[in-house]
Point group: C2
Chain length 315, copies 2
Protein backbone atom coordinates (compact mmCIF):
# COMPACT_ATOMS: atom_id res chain seq x y z
CA UNK A 1 0.00 0.00 0.00
CA UNK A 2 1.24 3.49 -0.81
CA UNK A 3 2.03 5.69 2.22
CA UNK A 4 -0.65 8.42 2.05
CA UNK A 5 -4.34 8.99 1.37
CA UNK A 6 -6.97 11.73 1.63
CA UNK A 7 -10.43 11.64 3.15
CA UNK A 8 -12.66 14.50 1.96
CA UNK A 9 -16.08 15.35 3.41
CA UNK A 10 -18.01 17.77 1.20
CA UNK A 11 -20.66 19.84 2.98
CA UNK A 12 -22.89 22.63 1.75
CA UNK A 13 -20.75 25.36 3.37
CA UNK A 14 -17.29 23.88 3.90
CA UNK A 15 -15.27 20.96 2.65
CA UNK A 16 -13.34 19.05 5.33
CA UNK A 17 -9.98 17.89 4.01
CA UNK A 18 -8.17 15.08 5.82
CA UNK A 19 -4.59 14.08 4.99
CA UNK A 20 -3.85 10.59 6.36
CA UNK A 21 -1.00 8.13 6.54
CA UNK A 22 -2.11 4.80 5.10
CA UNK A 23 -2.29 3.27 8.58
CA UNK A 24 -5.31 5.53 9.10
CA UNK A 25 -3.75 8.28 11.24
CA UNK A 26 -4.34 11.99 10.65
CA UNK A 27 -1.28 13.86 9.42
CA UNK A 28 -3.24 17.06 8.99
CA UNK A 29 -6.78 18.34 8.43
CA UNK A 30 -8.25 21.64 7.35
CA UNK A 31 -11.28 23.18 5.68
CA UNK A 32 -11.91 24.98 2.43
CA UNK A 33 -15.10 26.84 1.47
CA UNK A 34 -17.69 25.13 -0.74
CA UNK A 35 -18.28 27.26 -3.84
CA UNK A 36 -21.77 26.28 -4.96
CA UNK A 37 -22.20 28.96 -7.64
CA UNK A 38 -22.53 27.84 -11.31
CA UNK A 39 -23.92 24.44 -10.28
CA UNK A 40 -20.98 23.82 -7.98
CA UNK A 41 -18.55 23.50 -10.90
CA UNK A 42 -15.59 24.61 -8.77
CA UNK A 43 -16.07 22.07 -5.97
CA UNK A 44 -13.99 19.23 -7.43
CA UNK A 45 -11.25 21.50 -8.92
CA UNK A 46 -10.96 23.24 -5.51
CA UNK A 47 -10.48 19.86 -3.82
CA UNK A 48 -7.89 18.76 -6.38
CA UNK A 49 -5.98 22.04 -6.00
CA UNK A 50 -6.00 21.80 -2.20
CA UNK A 51 -4.70 18.21 -2.33
CA UNK A 52 -1.94 19.10 -4.79
CA UNK A 53 -0.87 22.07 -2.66
CA UNK A 54 -0.71 19.93 0.49
CA UNK A 55 1.37 17.33 -1.33
CA UNK A 56 3.72 20.00 -2.71
CA UNK A 57 4.14 21.61 0.74
CA UNK A 58 5.18 18.18 2.06
CA UNK A 59 7.33 17.28 -0.96
CA UNK A 60 5.09 14.30 -1.77
CA UNK A 61 3.97 13.30 -5.27
CA UNK A 62 0.63 11.94 -6.46
CA UNK A 63 2.39 8.60 -6.96
CA UNK A 64 2.65 8.28 -3.18
CA UNK A 65 -1.15 8.40 -2.78
CA UNK A 66 -3.13 5.20 -2.19
CA UNK A 67 -6.24 7.13 -3.09
CA UNK A 68 -8.79 9.82 -2.29
CA UNK A 69 -12.12 9.02 -0.63
CA UNK A 70 -14.94 11.54 -0.90
CA UNK A 71 -18.22 11.87 0.99
CA UNK A 72 -20.95 13.88 -0.76
CA UNK A 73 -24.32 15.09 0.53
CA UNK A 74 -26.47 13.19 -1.97
CA UNK A 75 -27.25 9.72 -3.31
CA UNK A 76 -24.23 7.87 -4.74
CA UNK A 77 -24.54 4.87 -7.02
CA UNK A 78 -22.08 2.01 -6.79
CA UNK A 79 -20.06 3.29 -9.76
CA UNK A 80 -19.22 6.56 -7.99
CA UNK A 81 -21.77 8.64 -9.87
CA UNK A 82 -23.69 11.17 -7.80
CA UNK A 83 -27.34 11.62 -8.66
CA UNK A 84 -28.19 15.20 -7.62
CA UNK A 85 -26.71 17.09 -4.69
CA UNK A 86 -29.14 19.92 -4.04
CA UNK A 87 -26.79 21.53 -1.48
CA UNK A 88 -23.93 21.71 -3.99
CA UNK A 89 -26.01 22.64 -7.02
CA UNK A 90 -24.99 19.38 -8.71
CA UNK A 91 -27.03 17.37 -11.17
CA UNK A 92 -25.63 14.01 -12.25
CA UNK A 93 -21.85 14.12 -11.66
CA UNK A 94 -19.36 11.28 -12.18
CA UNK A 95 -17.29 12.27 -9.15
CA UNK A 96 -14.98 9.27 -9.30
CA UNK A 97 -13.99 9.85 -12.92
CA UNK A 98 -13.87 13.64 -12.73
CA UNK A 99 -11.79 13.96 -9.56
CA UNK A 100 -9.50 11.14 -10.61
CA UNK A 101 -8.77 12.90 -13.90
CA UNK A 102 -8.07 16.17 -12.04
CA UNK A 103 -5.51 14.21 -9.98
CA UNK A 104 -3.74 12.50 -12.89
CA UNK A 105 -5.53 9.18 -12.43
CA UNK A 106 -5.35 8.74 -8.66
CA UNK A 107 -7.80 6.10 -7.30
CA UNK A 108 -11.00 7.78 -6.08
CA UNK A 109 -13.92 6.31 -4.12
CA UNK A 110 -17.18 8.14 -3.49
CA UNK A 111 -19.91 7.63 -0.91
CA UNK A 112 -22.96 9.35 0.49
CA UNK A 113 -21.96 11.50 3.47
CA UNK A 114 -24.18 9.73 6.00
CA UNK A 115 -22.91 6.34 4.83
CA UNK A 116 -19.33 7.56 4.89
CA UNK A 117 -19.71 8.89 8.45
CA UNK A 118 -21.14 5.48 9.44
CA UNK A 119 -18.07 3.81 7.93
CA UNK A 120 -15.83 6.17 9.92
CA UNK A 121 -17.60 5.27 13.17
CA UNK A 122 -17.49 1.56 12.32
CA UNK A 123 -13.79 1.71 11.57
CA UNK A 124 -12.50 4.02 14.25
CA UNK A 125 -15.38 5.18 16.44
CA UNK A 126 -18.42 3.90 18.32
CA UNK A 127 -18.62 0.75 16.20
CA UNK A 128 -14.90 -0.10 16.34
CA UNK A 129 -14.25 -3.83 16.43
CA UNK A 130 -17.53 -4.73 14.70
CA UNK A 131 -18.02 -5.50 11.01
CA UNK A 132 -21.78 -4.94 10.88
CA UNK A 133 -22.92 -1.57 12.13
CA UNK A 134 -26.07 0.50 11.77
CA UNK A 135 -25.49 4.18 12.38
CA UNK A 136 -28.36 6.56 13.09
CA UNK A 137 -27.47 10.23 12.75
CA UNK A 138 -29.77 12.66 14.54
CA UNK A 139 -29.03 16.14 13.21
CA UNK A 140 -31.23 18.73 11.51
CA UNK A 141 -32.67 15.67 9.79
CA UNK A 142 -32.29 11.97 10.50
CA UNK A 143 -29.80 10.06 8.39
CA UNK A 144 -28.37 6.61 8.56
CA UNK A 145 -25.69 4.33 7.27
CA UNK A 146 -25.53 0.56 7.03
CA UNK A 147 -22.08 -1.05 7.19
CA UNK A 148 -22.01 -4.77 6.41
CA UNK A 149 -18.78 -6.76 6.41
CA UNK A 150 -16.91 -3.49 6.90
CA UNK A 151 -18.33 -1.97 3.71
CA UNK A 152 -20.97 0.61 2.94
CA UNK A 153 -24.31 -0.70 1.73
CA UNK A 154 -25.19 1.87 -0.96
CA UNK A 155 -28.41 0.36 -2.33
CA UNK A 156 -29.80 0.12 -5.85
CA UNK A 157 -30.67 3.83 -5.89
CA UNK A 158 -28.06 5.05 -3.41
CA UNK A 159 -30.84 5.15 -0.80
CA UNK A 160 -29.86 2.36 1.60
CA UNK A 161 -29.84 3.65 5.17
CA UNK A 162 -32.37 6.43 4.46
CA UNK A 163 -34.03 5.56 7.72
CA UNK A 164 -35.14 9.11 8.48
CA UNK A 165 -37.97 8.49 6.07
CA UNK A 166 -39.32 5.30 7.56
CA UNK A 167 -42.98 5.91 8.26
CA UNK A 168 -43.42 5.48 12.02
CA UNK A 169 -46.81 7.10 12.58
CA UNK A 170 -50.18 6.72 10.90
CA UNK A 171 -51.61 9.75 12.68
CA UNK A 172 -49.34 12.57 11.51
CA UNK A 173 -50.96 15.53 9.77
CA UNK A 174 -47.81 17.62 9.13
CA UNK A 175 -45.87 16.96 5.93
CA UNK A 176 -42.21 15.87 6.07
CA UNK A 177 -39.61 17.47 3.78
CA UNK A 178 -39.80 14.32 1.64
CA UNK A 179 -43.52 14.81 0.99
CA UNK A 180 -44.77 11.96 3.19
CA UNK A 181 -46.37 12.14 6.62
CA UNK A 182 -45.21 10.38 9.77
CA UNK A 183 -41.49 9.97 8.95
CA UNK A 184 -39.03 9.18 11.76
CA UNK A 185 -37.28 12.49 11.00
CA UNK A 186 -40.42 14.38 12.05
CA UNK A 187 -39.98 13.12 15.64
CA UNK A 188 -36.32 12.39 16.19
CA UNK A 189 -34.27 15.03 14.42
CA UNK A 190 -33.28 18.20 16.30
CA UNK A 191 -36.11 20.02 14.55
CA UNK A 192 -38.45 17.10 15.22
CA UNK A 193 -37.76 17.19 18.97
CA UNK A 194 -38.49 20.93 19.05
CA UNK A 195 -41.64 20.40 16.98
CA UNK A 196 -42.91 17.74 19.39
CA UNK A 197 -42.20 19.99 22.38
CA UNK A 198 -44.01 22.98 20.87
CA UNK A 199 -47.01 20.88 19.82
CA UNK A 200 -47.30 19.36 23.27
CA UNK A 201 -46.93 22.76 25.01
CA UNK A 202 -49.77 24.13 22.89
CA UNK A 203 -51.95 21.07 23.48
CA UNK A 204 -51.40 21.13 27.24
CA UNK A 205 -51.65 24.81 28.25
CA UNK A 206 -51.96 24.06 31.96
CA UNK A 207 -48.82 21.92 32.21
CA UNK A 208 -45.97 23.69 33.99
CA UNK A 209 -42.47 23.26 32.62
CA UNK A 210 -39.43 25.52 32.42
CA UNK A 211 -39.51 24.95 28.64
CA UNK A 212 -42.50 27.29 28.49
CA UNK A 213 -40.27 30.29 29.30
CA UNK A 214 -37.86 29.66 26.44
CA UNK A 215 -38.16 31.20 23.02
CA UNK A 216 -37.10 29.48 20.90
CA UNK A 217 -36.78 26.03 22.46
CA UNK A 218 -33.89 23.84 21.26
CA UNK A 219 -33.57 20.05 21.29
CA UNK A 220 -30.74 20.49 23.81
CA UNK A 221 -33.12 22.36 26.15
CA UNK A 222 -35.56 19.45 26.06
CA UNK A 223 -32.88 16.92 27.00
CA UNK A 224 -31.27 19.24 29.57
CA UNK A 225 -34.55 19.77 31.42
CA UNK A 226 -35.36 16.07 31.16
CA UNK A 227 -32.07 15.40 32.96
CA UNK A 228 -33.21 17.69 35.79
CA UNK A 229 -36.38 15.59 36.15
CA UNK A 230 -38.88 17.91 34.42
CA UNK A 231 -41.83 15.61 33.72
CA UNK A 232 -42.92 17.42 30.57
CA UNK A 233 -39.44 17.25 29.03
CA UNK A 234 -39.19 13.59 30.04
CA UNK A 235 -42.47 12.89 28.21
CA UNK A 236 -41.03 14.39 25.01
CA UNK A 237 -37.82 12.37 25.37
CA UNK A 238 -39.97 9.27 25.80
CA UNK A 239 -41.79 9.90 22.51
CA UNK A 240 -38.45 10.48 20.75
CA UNK A 241 -37.18 7.21 22.24
CA UNK A 242 -40.31 5.32 21.20
CA UNK A 243 -40.12 6.46 17.59
CA UNK A 244 -36.41 5.68 17.38
CA UNK A 245 -36.59 2.42 19.33
CA UNK A 246 -39.40 1.01 17.22
CA UNK A 247 -37.77 2.11 13.96
CA UNK A 248 -34.47 0.51 15.01
CA UNK A 249 -36.39 -2.70 15.82
CA UNK A 250 -37.57 -2.68 12.20
CA UNK A 251 -33.97 -2.18 11.06
CA UNK A 252 -32.57 -5.05 13.12
CA UNK A 253 -35.28 -7.40 11.76
CA UNK A 254 -33.83 -6.63 8.34
CA UNK A 255 -30.03 -6.57 8.86
CA UNK A 256 -29.43 -7.94 12.42
CA UNK A 257 -26.23 -5.91 13.03
CA UNK A 258 -23.56 -6.27 15.75
CA UNK A 259 -24.10 -2.78 17.11
CA UNK A 260 -26.19 0.37 16.70
CA UNK A 261 -24.28 3.69 16.83
CA UNK A 262 -26.25 6.85 17.58
CA UNK A 263 -24.63 10.07 16.37
CA UNK A 264 -25.38 13.63 15.25
CA UNK A 265 -26.00 16.74 17.35
CA UNK A 266 -28.99 15.29 19.24
CA UNK A 267 -26.82 12.38 20.42
CA UNK A 268 -24.83 14.81 22.59
CA UNK A 269 -27.70 14.32 25.05
CA UNK A 270 -25.86 11.09 25.87
CA UNK A 271 -27.07 8.27 28.09
CA UNK A 272 -30.58 9.65 28.63
CA UNK A 273 -31.18 9.33 24.89
CA UNK A 274 -29.78 5.80 24.69
CA UNK A 275 -31.92 4.80 27.70
CA UNK A 276 -35.08 6.18 26.06
CA UNK A 277 -34.31 4.36 22.81
CA UNK A 278 -33.45 1.04 24.47
CA UNK A 279 -36.57 1.16 26.66
CA UNK A 280 -38.71 1.00 23.51
CA UNK A 281 -36.33 -1.01 21.34
CA UNK A 282 -36.05 -4.15 23.50
CA UNK A 283 -39.77 -5.07 23.66
CA UNK A 284 -40.29 -4.26 19.96
CA UNK A 285 -37.27 -6.23 18.69
CA UNK A 286 -37.19 -9.82 17.47
CA UNK A 287 -35.74 -11.93 20.28
CA UNK A 288 -32.54 -12.91 18.45
CA UNK A 289 -31.56 -9.24 18.01
CA UNK A 290 -32.97 -7.98 21.30
CA UNK A 291 -29.61 -7.66 23.08
CA UNK A 292 -27.83 -5.68 20.35
CA UNK A 293 -25.46 -3.05 21.79
CA UNK A 294 -26.24 0.66 21.54
CA UNK A 295 -23.26 3.02 21.48
CA UNK A 296 -22.79 6.74 21.08
CA UNK A 297 -20.76 8.01 18.13
CA UNK A 298 -17.37 9.35 19.16
CA UNK A 299 -15.80 10.96 16.09
CA UNK A 300 -18.14 13.94 15.76
CA UNK A 301 -17.40 16.06 12.70
CA UNK A 302 -14.32 13.99 11.88
CA UNK A 303 -16.35 10.82 11.14
CA UNK A 304 -16.80 11.88 7.50
CA UNK A 305 -13.06 12.29 6.86
CA UNK A 306 -12.29 8.97 8.58
CA UNK A 307 -14.98 7.13 6.62
CA UNK A 308 -13.98 8.77 3.35
CA UNK A 309 -10.36 7.72 3.66
CA UNK A 310 -11.40 4.25 4.83
CA UNK A 311 -13.05 3.68 1.44
CA UNK A 312 -9.60 3.77 -0.20
CA UNK A 313 -7.78 2.01 2.67
CA UNK A 314 -10.06 -1.05 2.97
CA UNK A 315 -8.12 -4.21 3.87
CA UNK B 1 -14.76 -25.88 -10.83
CA UNK B 2 -15.53 -29.54 -10.26
CA UNK B 3 -18.44 -30.97 -12.29
CA UNK B 4 -21.10 -31.71 -9.63
CA UNK B 5 -22.69 -30.30 -6.47
CA UNK B 6 -25.61 -30.97 -4.13
CA UNK B 7 -28.27 -28.61 -2.81
CA UNK B 8 -30.06 -29.95 0.26
CA UNK B 9 -33.13 -28.38 1.85
CA UNK B 10 -33.86 -29.80 5.32
CA UNK B 11 -37.49 -29.54 6.44
CA UNK B 12 -39.22 -30.84 9.54
CA UNK B 13 -40.82 -33.76 7.68
CA UNK B 14 -38.74 -34.37 4.56
CA UNK B 15 -35.31 -33.47 3.26
CA UNK B 16 -35.20 -32.32 -0.37
CA UNK B 17 -32.07 -33.59 -2.09
CA UNK B 18 -30.92 -31.90 -5.31
CA UNK B 19 -28.10 -33.28 -7.47
CA UNK B 20 -26.77 -30.58 -9.79
CA UNK B 21 -24.21 -30.14 -12.49
CA UNK B 22 -21.92 -27.25 -11.60
CA UNK B 23 -23.55 -25.04 -14.24
CA UNK B 24 -26.58 -25.05 -11.92
CA UNK B 25 -28.82 -27.54 -13.75
CA UNK B 26 -30.73 -30.32 -12.01
CA UNK B 27 -29.46 -33.81 -12.79
CA UNK B 28 -31.85 -35.39 -10.33
CA UNK B 29 -33.84 -34.61 -7.19
CA UNK B 30 -35.62 -36.70 -4.60
CA UNK B 31 -36.74 -36.66 -0.98
CA UNK B 32 -35.78 -38.59 2.12
CA UNK B 33 -37.65 -38.54 5.46
CA UNK B 34 -36.42 -36.32 8.30
CA UNK B 35 -35.73 -38.47 11.36
CA UNK B 36 -36.07 -36.06 14.27
CA UNK B 37 -35.89 -38.66 17.06
CA UNK B 38 -32.90 -38.51 19.49
CA UNK B 39 -32.41 -34.78 18.87
CA UNK B 40 -32.26 -35.33 15.13
CA UNK B 41 -28.92 -37.15 15.35
CA UNK B 42 -29.61 -39.12 12.15
CA UNK B 43 -30.36 -36.11 9.94
CA UNK B 44 -26.80 -35.39 8.76
CA UNK B 45 -25.73 -39.07 8.48
CA UNK B 46 -28.89 -39.75 6.42
CA UNK B 47 -27.98 -36.89 4.07
CA UNK B 48 -24.39 -38.10 3.74
CA UNK B 49 -25.54 -41.66 3.01
CA UNK B 50 -28.04 -40.48 0.39
CA UNK B 51 -25.37 -38.37 -1.33
CA UNK B 52 -22.86 -41.23 -1.34
CA UNK B 53 -25.44 -43.63 -2.75
CA UNK B 54 -26.37 -41.22 -5.54
CA UNK B 55 -22.70 -40.75 -6.39
CA UNK B 56 -22.09 -44.51 -6.41
CA UNK B 57 -25.16 -45.15 -8.61
CA UNK B 58 -23.71 -42.67 -11.09
CA UNK B 59 -20.10 -43.90 -10.76
CA UNK B 60 -18.98 -40.51 -9.46
CA UNK B 61 -16.54 -39.99 -6.58
CA UNK B 62 -16.56 -37.38 -3.81
CA UNK B 63 -13.55 -35.81 -5.54
CA UNK B 64 -15.86 -34.74 -8.37
CA UNK B 65 -18.01 -32.65 -6.01
CA UNK B 66 -17.58 -28.89 -5.87
CA UNK B 67 -19.50 -28.92 -2.61
CA UNK B 68 -22.74 -29.45 -0.74
CA UNK B 69 -25.00 -26.56 0.24
CA UNK B 70 -27.54 -27.06 3.00
CA UNK B 71 -30.59 -25.05 4.06
CA UNK B 72 -31.77 -25.59 7.66
CA UNK B 73 -34.93 -24.36 9.41
CA UNK B 74 -33.18 -22.31 12.10
CA UNK B 75 -30.71 -19.46 12.65
CA UNK B 76 -27.28 -20.02 11.07
CA UNK B 77 -24.21 -18.04 12.04
CA UNK B 78 -21.64 -17.06 9.44
CA UNK B 79 -19.32 -19.95 10.39
CA UNK B 80 -21.95 -22.57 9.46
CA UNK B 81 -23.00 -23.29 13.05
CA UNK B 82 -26.73 -23.72 13.61
CA UNK B 83 -28.12 -22.29 16.84
CA UNK B 84 -31.20 -24.39 17.64
CA UNK B 85 -33.55 -25.98 15.11
CA UNK B 86 -36.71 -26.70 17.07
CA UNK B 87 -38.24 -28.63 14.13
CA UNK B 88 -35.25 -30.98 13.92
CA UNK B 89 -34.65 -31.35 17.64
CA UNK B 90 -31.21 -29.77 17.24
CA UNK B 91 -29.39 -27.67 19.81
CA UNK B 92 -26.13 -26.04 18.69
CA UNK B 93 -24.82 -28.06 15.73
CA UNK B 94 -21.73 -27.31 13.64
CA UNK B 95 -23.37 -28.45 10.42
CA UNK B 96 -20.53 -27.38 8.16
CA UNK B 97 -17.90 -29.33 10.07
CA UNK B 98 -20.03 -32.36 10.84
CA UNK B 99 -21.42 -32.95 7.35
CA UNK B 100 -18.05 -32.24 5.76
CA UNK B 101 -16.41 -34.88 7.94
CA UNK B 102 -19.16 -37.39 7.05
CA UNK B 103 -18.28 -36.70 3.39
CA UNK B 104 -14.51 -37.07 3.69
CA UNK B 105 -13.85 -33.33 3.75
CA UNK B 106 -16.14 -32.11 0.96
CA UNK B 107 -16.77 -28.32 1.04
CA UNK B 108 -20.05 -27.58 2.85
CA UNK B 109 -21.97 -24.31 3.15
CA UNK B 110 -24.95 -23.80 5.43
CA UNK B 111 -27.74 -21.23 5.43
CA UNK B 112 -31.09 -20.56 7.02
CA UNK B 113 -33.86 -22.08 4.87
CA UNK B 114 -35.68 -18.78 4.22
CA UNK B 115 -32.40 -17.10 3.27
CA UNK B 116 -31.42 -20.01 1.07
CA UNK B 117 -34.80 -19.94 -0.73
CA UNK B 118 -34.25 -16.21 -1.29
CA UNK B 119 -30.86 -16.95 -2.82
CA UNK B 120 -32.47 -19.54 -5.10
CA UNK B 121 -35.05 -17.03 -6.31
CA UNK B 122 -32.36 -14.36 -6.77
CA UNK B 123 -30.18 -16.71 -8.78
CA UNK B 124 -32.70 -18.56 -10.87
CA UNK B 125 -36.20 -17.34 -10.09
CA UNK B 126 -38.23 -14.17 -9.59
CA UNK B 127 -35.12 -12.10 -8.84
CA UNK B 128 -33.01 -13.43 -11.71
CA UNK B 129 -30.72 -10.80 -13.18
CA UNK B 130 -30.57 -8.73 -9.98
CA UNK B 131 -27.84 -8.80 -7.34
CA UNK B 132 -29.84 -7.21 -4.53
CA UNK B 133 -33.09 -8.93 -3.72
CA UNK B 134 -35.46 -8.93 -0.77
CA UNK B 135 -37.64 -12.01 -0.63
CA UNK B 136 -40.79 -12.13 1.46
CA UNK B 137 -42.16 -15.64 2.03
CA UNK B 138 -45.82 -15.84 3.03
CA UNK B 139 -46.48 -19.34 4.32
CA UNK B 140 -47.77 -20.63 7.65
CA UNK B 141 -45.56 -17.87 9.01
CA UNK B 142 -43.84 -14.92 7.32
CA UNK B 143 -40.15 -15.34 6.54
CA UNK B 144 -37.72 -13.33 4.56
CA UNK B 145 -34.30 -13.34 3.00
CA UNK B 146 -31.98 -10.49 2.08
CA UNK B 147 -29.59 -11.08 -0.81
CA UNK B 148 -26.95 -8.36 -1.29
CA UNK B 149 -24.34 -8.54 -4.03
CA UNK B 150 -25.60 -12.05 -4.81
CA UNK B 151 -24.91 -13.32 -1.29
CA UNK B 152 -27.06 -14.11 1.72
CA UNK B 153 -27.06 -11.53 4.51
CA UNK B 154 -27.03 -13.77 7.61
CA UNK B 155 -26.78 -11.16 10.35
CA UNK B 156 -24.88 -11.11 13.65
CA UNK B 157 -27.31 -13.59 15.22
CA UNK B 158 -28.47 -15.36 12.07
CA UNK B 159 -31.62 -13.24 12.22
CA UNK B 160 -31.28 -10.93 9.21
CA UNK B 161 -34.44 -11.06 7.11
CA UNK B 162 -36.68 -12.06 10.05
CA UNK B 163 -39.22 -9.61 8.75
CA UNK B 164 -42.23 -11.61 9.92
CA UNK B 165 -41.56 -10.19 13.35
CA UNK B 166 -41.46 -6.53 12.44
CA UNK B 167 -44.02 -4.81 14.64
CA UNK B 168 -46.56 -3.26 12.28
CA UNK B 169 -49.44 -2.52 14.63
CA UNK B 170 -49.67 -0.80 18.01
CA UNK B 171 -53.24 -1.95 18.55
CA UNK B 172 -52.92 -5.73 18.52
CA UNK B 173 -54.12 -7.66 21.58
CA UNK B 174 -53.35 -11.21 20.37
CA UNK B 175 -49.86 -12.58 21.04
CA UNK B 176 -47.63 -13.70 18.15
CA UNK B 177 -45.72 -17.00 18.35
CA UNK B 178 -42.60 -14.94 19.10
CA UNK B 179 -44.17 -13.45 22.23
CA UNK B 180 -44.70 -9.93 20.86
CA UNK B 181 -47.91 -8.31 19.69
CA UNK B 182 -48.56 -6.74 16.29
CA UNK B 183 -46.01 -8.68 14.19
CA UNK B 184 -46.35 -8.68 10.39
CA UNK B 185 -46.84 -12.45 10.55
CA UNK B 186 -50.08 -11.96 12.48
CA UNK B 187 -51.65 -10.30 9.42
CA UNK B 188 -49.88 -11.60 6.34
CA UNK B 189 -49.17 -15.29 6.82
CA UNK B 190 -51.74 -17.85 5.68
CA UNK B 191 -52.89 -18.18 9.28
CA UNK B 192 -52.84 -14.40 9.68
CA UNK B 193 -55.14 -13.87 6.68
CA UNK B 194 -57.61 -16.41 8.10
CA UNK B 195 -57.38 -14.80 11.54
CA UNK B 196 -58.15 -11.37 10.07
CA UNK B 197 -61.13 -12.77 8.15
CA UNK B 198 -62.59 -14.54 11.19
CA UNK B 199 -62.13 -11.49 13.42
CA UNK B 200 -63.78 -9.24 10.88
CA UNK B 201 -66.69 -11.67 10.33
CA UNK B 202 -67.32 -11.75 14.08
CA UNK B 203 -67.06 -7.97 14.39
CA UNK B 204 -69.44 -7.35 11.47
CA UNK B 205 -72.27 -9.87 11.89
CA UNK B 206 -74.57 -8.14 9.41
CA UNK B 207 -72.09 -8.10 6.53
CA UNK B 208 -72.93 -10.62 3.81
CA UNK B 209 -70.12 -12.56 2.23
CA UNK B 210 -69.78 -16.11 0.86
CA UNK B 211 -66.90 -16.58 3.34
CA UNK B 212 -69.52 -16.82 6.11
CA UNK B 213 -70.67 -20.22 4.79
CA UNK B 214 -67.21 -21.79 4.91
CA UNK B 215 -65.83 -23.73 7.86
CA UNK B 216 -62.93 -23.49 8.08
CA UNK B 217 -61.95 -20.52 5.93
CA UNK B 218 -58.56 -20.70 4.18
CA UNK B 219 -56.34 -17.86 2.96
CA UNK B 220 -56.97 -19.11 -0.57
CA UNK B 221 -60.75 -18.69 -0.05
CA UNK B 222 -60.23 -15.05 0.95
CA UNK B 223 -58.22 -14.29 -2.19
CA UNK B 224 -60.49 -16.35 -4.44
CA UNK B 225 -63.62 -14.48 -3.30
CA UNK B 226 -61.77 -11.17 -3.52
CA UNK B 227 -61.11 -11.99 -7.18
CA UNK B 228 -64.86 -12.46 -7.72
CA UNK B 229 -65.44 -8.95 -6.33
CA UNK B 230 -66.70 -9.86 -2.84
CA UNK B 231 -66.35 -6.58 -0.92
CA UNK B 232 -65.69 -8.23 2.42
CA UNK B 233 -62.89 -10.40 1.03
CA UNK B 234 -61.47 -7.39 -0.76
CA UNK B 235 -61.36 -5.50 2.54
CA UNK B 236 -59.30 -8.30 4.12
CA UNK B 237 -56.92 -8.38 1.14
CA UNK B 238 -56.53 -4.62 1.53
CA UNK B 239 -55.46 -4.97 5.18
CA UNK B 240 -52.99 -7.71 4.23
CA UNK B 241 -51.62 -5.43 1.49
CA UNK B 242 -51.34 -2.47 3.86
CA UNK B 243 -49.39 -4.41 6.48
CA UNK B 244 -47.06 -5.90 3.87
CA UNK B 245 -46.70 -2.71 1.83
CA UNK B 246 -45.78 -0.58 4.83
CA UNK B 247 -43.39 -3.20 6.21
CA UNK B 248 -41.68 -3.48 2.82
CA UNK B 249 -41.36 0.32 2.75
CA UNK B 250 -39.42 0.04 6.03
CA UNK B 251 -37.23 -2.63 4.46
CA UNK B 252 -36.42 -0.59 1.35
CA UNK B 253 -35.45 2.40 3.54
CA UNK B 254 -32.82 0.12 5.05
CA UNK B 255 -31.44 -1.87 2.11
CA UNK B 256 -32.83 -0.21 -1.08
CA UNK B 257 -32.88 -3.43 -3.18
CA UNK B 258 -33.30 -3.91 -6.93
CA UNK B 259 -36.40 -6.04 -6.60
CA UNK B 260 -38.85 -7.50 -4.07
CA UNK B 261 -39.85 -11.14 -4.62
CA UNK B 262 -43.04 -12.39 -2.97
CA UNK B 263 -43.21 -16.15 -2.42
CA UNK B 264 -44.76 -18.85 -0.24
CA UNK B 265 -48.21 -20.43 -0.41
CA UNK B 266 -50.13 -17.15 -0.02
CA UNK B 267 -48.32 -15.73 -3.07
CA UNK B 268 -50.22 -18.19 -5.26
CA UNK B 269 -52.99 -15.59 -5.09
CA UNK B 270 -50.91 -13.82 -7.75
CA UNK B 271 -51.44 -10.34 -9.15
CA UNK B 272 -54.25 -9.36 -6.75
CA UNK B 273 -51.79 -9.74 -3.87
CA UNK B 274 -49.05 -7.76 -5.63
CA UNK B 275 -51.57 -5.03 -6.44
CA UNK B 276 -52.69 -4.81 -2.81
CA UNK B 277 -49.08 -4.61 -1.59
CA UNK B 278 -47.99 -2.03 -4.17
CA UNK B 279 -51.04 0.16 -3.46
CA UNK B 280 -49.80 0.66 0.09
CA UNK B 281 -46.07 0.40 -0.59
CA UNK B 282 -45.70 3.28 -3.06
CA UNK B 283 -47.05 6.10 -0.84
CA UNK B 284 -45.19 4.79 2.23
CA UNK B 285 -41.81 4.35 0.51
CA UNK B 286 -38.94 6.85 0.36
CA UNK B 287 -39.03 8.45 -3.08
CA UNK B 288 -35.73 7.00 -4.30
CA UNK B 289 -36.98 3.43 -3.74
CA UNK B 290 -40.61 4.05 -4.69
CA UNK B 291 -40.41 2.40 -8.10
CA UNK B 292 -38.80 -0.84 -6.98
CA UNK B 293 -40.12 -3.87 -8.90
CA UNK B 294 -42.36 -6.46 -7.26
CA UNK B 295 -42.20 -10.00 -8.64
CA UNK B 296 -43.76 -13.31 -7.74
CA UNK B 297 -41.47 -16.18 -6.80
CA UNK B 298 -41.30 -18.86 -9.49
CA UNK B 299 -39.33 -21.80 -8.08
CA UNK B 300 -41.86 -22.96 -5.47
CA UNK B 301 -40.56 -25.83 -3.35
CA UNK B 302 -37.41 -26.09 -5.44
CA UNK B 303 -36.12 -22.66 -4.36
CA UNK B 304 -34.40 -24.18 -1.31
CA UNK B 305 -32.42 -26.71 -3.35
CA UNK B 306 -31.42 -24.07 -5.89
CA UNK B 307 -30.32 -21.64 -3.20
CA UNK B 308 -28.50 -24.32 -1.25
CA UNK B 309 -26.43 -25.41 -4.22
CA UNK B 310 -25.82 -21.78 -5.19
CA UNK B 311 -23.95 -21.26 -1.90
CA UNK B 312 -21.24 -23.65 -3.15
CA UNK B 313 -21.39 -22.52 -6.79
CA UNK B 314 -21.00 -18.77 -6.22
CA UNK B 315 -18.98 -17.10 -8.98
Amino acid sequence: MKPYAFGVDIGGTTIKMGFFSSDGKFIDHWEIPTHTENNGEKVLPDIARSIKKKLKDNSITLDDLEGVGVGVPGPVLSDGVVNKCVNLGWGVVDVRKKLSSLLDGVYVEVGNDANVAALGEQWNGGGKGHDNVVMVTLGTGVGGGIILGGRILAGANGAAGEIGHMKVSDKETAVCGCGKKGCLEQYSSATGVVRLANLSLAANPSVETPLRDLDPITAKDVFDYAKTGDEFSLSIVDIVGKMLGEAIAHITCVVDPDVIVIGGGVSKAGQILLDAIEKHYRPAAFHASRDVDFKLAVLGNEAGMYGAVRMVLTD
